[in-house]
């Protein structure tokens, strides 16, 4: 197993370098970013001074290798907009996005499993039809539209939920302020409901359909029939025998989805004024703040790769047939 882990880590380093190179070149294609950091009325001399100060006067490959050299020393550079370390800006925004993604994932999994199981158990019934219709809607409705509709209905019309904003939970927790963090937890959850549902609804729909089809497949297997013939109660057959086998593909999907959601919450963060990494990277791309974009890209790549690795390891644990 250790050989597998080490091999995957080495592959990951190559992937991360590839990602940094692609994003670096992509950001430079649009032209000289210096103009975004000088006044409209700056003279040619002032523009050149700024270009030199920001390092954009050097050849692209030199800029890239300087960046990589600094990166190896843990220096992601200084944000051109915020005038502070880029990594600091990213790490400050990351907890809010992790809160949102975790909530969305938990929401999606906790609801998807029972919905998928019931749809499979009552296949062809009105319940199954309703759940599948919801699944189809959830995969068709864009998250931004769902978000705006929820704001209109639950925020503005019913006034049940806050329209936008964020109450931090992870930040005080990570800073060691445990009491403060947990005292803020109800409010944090309250502010998480709408953006979390907007982000997680797609996953909920997809996972419910996945659980349903997986359960249908497993329920027809011999070992389920054997379990029933032994007189094991139906609930135990479903939970201990069928579901345990049916959720193997779900685990794979959930692991990948967490990484996907982390990078895909930009629109929802914009709509709900959520101060996360999605908004940070959106603004950074608009301002061509290359150090911040690179720090975001690397951070998301590391999380995505780590999650993939984790899913592989969990898979071995829950399915003895799989060998690394």
């Amino acid at each position: 197993m250790w050989t597998f882990i080490i091999r995957r880590l080495l592959q990951s380093i190559i992937v991360i370098f590839g990602v940094t190179a692609i994003s670096f070149v992509a950001l430079q294609i649009g032209g000289d970013p210096t103009y975004l950091y000088v006044s409209e009325r700056a003279t040619a001399e002032e523009i050149q001074q700024t270009r030199v100060a920001l390092g954009f006067d050097r050849p692209l490959y030199e800029q890239y290798f300087t960046f990589i050299g600094n990166l190896l020393h843990g220096d992601f550079g200084t944000s051109l907009s915020y005038k502070r370390p880029a990594l600091e800006a990213v790490l400050e925004a990351l907890p809010a996005t992790i809160e949102l993604t975790l909530f969305a994932m938990i929401f999606a999994i906790v609801l998807a499993i029972p919905l998928g199981v019931f749809a499979a158990l009552y296949r062809g019934s009105a319940l199954d039809g309703s759940i599948m219709t919801m699944g189809m809607l959830g995969q068709s409705i864009p998250s931004f539209w769902l978000g705006i509709m929820m704001i209109m209905f639950f925020g503005l019309y019913l006034r049940w939920l806050p329209i936008s904003g964020h109450v931090p939970f992870l930040v005080p927790l990570l800073q060691g302020h445990v009491v403060e963090a947990f005292s803020q937890l109800p409010m944090a959850l309250y502010y998480l409901v709408m953006p979390g549902v907007a982000v997680g609804f797609y996953s909920l729909s997809r996972n419910a359909r996945l659980v349903r089809s997986s359960m249908l497949e497993v329920l027809g297997q011999d070992f389920v029939r054997t379990a029933r013939s032994k007189g094991i109660p139906e609930a135990a057959v479903i939970i201990h025998h069928a579901l345990r086998n049916a959720w193997l593909p779900v685990v794979t999907m959930v692991g990948l989805e967490f990484g996907f959601l982390l990078g895909g919450v930009v629109v929802v963060e914009m709509i709900f004024s959520w101060p996360g990494i999605g908004r940070l990277v959106f603004n950074a791309i608009n301002q061509r703040d290359i150090p911040v974009v690179q720090a975001c890209v690397i951070m998301l790549s590391v999380i995505f790769i780590s999650l993939n690795l984790l899913v592989d390891l969990i898979y071995v644990r829950i399915d003895p047939r799989v060998k690394l």
Partner: protein
Amino acid sequence: MTSLIRILATGCALLCGIAAAQAAPPPDTLVVGLSADASTFDPAQISSRDNANIAKHIFATLYTVNFEGEIKPYLADKTEVSADGLSYLIKIKPNLTCDNGEALTAEDVAYSFNRPADKSKKFTGNSAGFVFPTLGFKSAEVVDDLTVRINLSARTTLALGMMAQIYIHCKDAYEAMTLEQASTNPVGSGSYRLVSWQRGSQIVLEKVKDPGRFKRIVWRIIPEASTRTAELIAGNVDIITNVSPDQIGAIDASGTAAVEKVSGTRRMQVGYNLSPNAAGMPGAAEIQNPKVRFALQYAVDVPGICSQLLGTTCERATSLVNPPNGNPDLKAVPYDPAMAEKLLDEAGYPRGADGVRFHIRLQGPRGRYLNDANVVQAIGQYLTDVGVQTDVELLEWASVYSPLLRAKKMAPLFFLGQGGVTWNPLYDMSLFSTPDATTNYQSWTDPRWFDDWKLALAAPSVAEARPVINRMLKLFYEEGPWLQLYFQPDFYGVSKRVAWKPRRDEEIDLFDASLK
């Protein structure tokens, strides 16, 4: 039973907390919804309008431009200008302090000017990048405890207005800070101090002295326009910026808020790219002819664009100068397609067999200005209607449009908005200070304009320069490098809880805002 009571009590406590979160702001607090966060509070680094709007409540300035567009003293008490206009002797008010209690003296004022000008610090904010080059700033020196001398390289009637953009801060506090600390821990001289800054969420200011009526100002960062509108209607914020025209009706009908419309100072135009960079592009040769440029003015229905696409009425601009500083003899060109066609015929561009006079390309940004994409497409259609077959190209602002603009490599026609002021016509005209000025995106080179510009600039006052200014504006009207459009209307959503009026110059001034 005890457990049940505990659960109910916890539930009630939670609901109370939730209700509190949904409540309107307290009476001593004003909440403003902005579309973008501040990036820094280092007075030498601030450059964006949203950032400056917050900073102006933290940092005082020597002068201020009031609601009517007049320059008034703020920290300055008395100003003497040398005969050659190159030296400003400014006496500040006594007993001033920064918000850390430090006395604010002439030394601090001089430092506030000299620090951003220090090239070794590589500041890229508004002061170093725009104000000082325009001002011709050379140095600031201390004369005595309350008097500072500002030295300029050339006479300019723009001096006081430019000085009004320099944030005054205390030397000792900033000398003790790193640049990173300076960006997050401002020690201001204004009437509010920064209490907290949750990046991406909100900025809280607390009043330390007059002017200002609210004890606290909370700036909430709400990037999405429809979310800002929802927060305003729900009563959670008092003022929102950049209201989208399609949401005006919803706000006005809400009963809790109303939209305040103001004709801004941003000058919207279709620029004619007269630069050799455009040579060879369709339409580039034709627009070199001033008669064609003037004819196209008649082809576009500007009031129609305003009412249909911007949700308001607006008056067509007659020049690049904001009212009331323009040439009063000039009347806005009316929408008259027949006249446009007649003038194009006379200019030597009749319709061909296919009904087309000539082809041209019009570029515009998407999402930079109010409803820009639709406005650009409408203009393209108006021009096509008079036989100028216009291909419209919409581009992303930051990575495509802006670099092309700066390199003066736009298409022969390009849509643009350039900020202006109400306090001096020469500021608005300074876009064309030289044929190769960076802001002369149109590469206009008419020597009559640039000869007159030198005369206008050398005049001791705007009043004395007025005849020259009027002559220049007439030339701009008849042969200028812009297809004149409108001054961009700005829409603010204002809660019925507060009394507040927006300014024309995109500045948000909350000192006089109050509860109704």
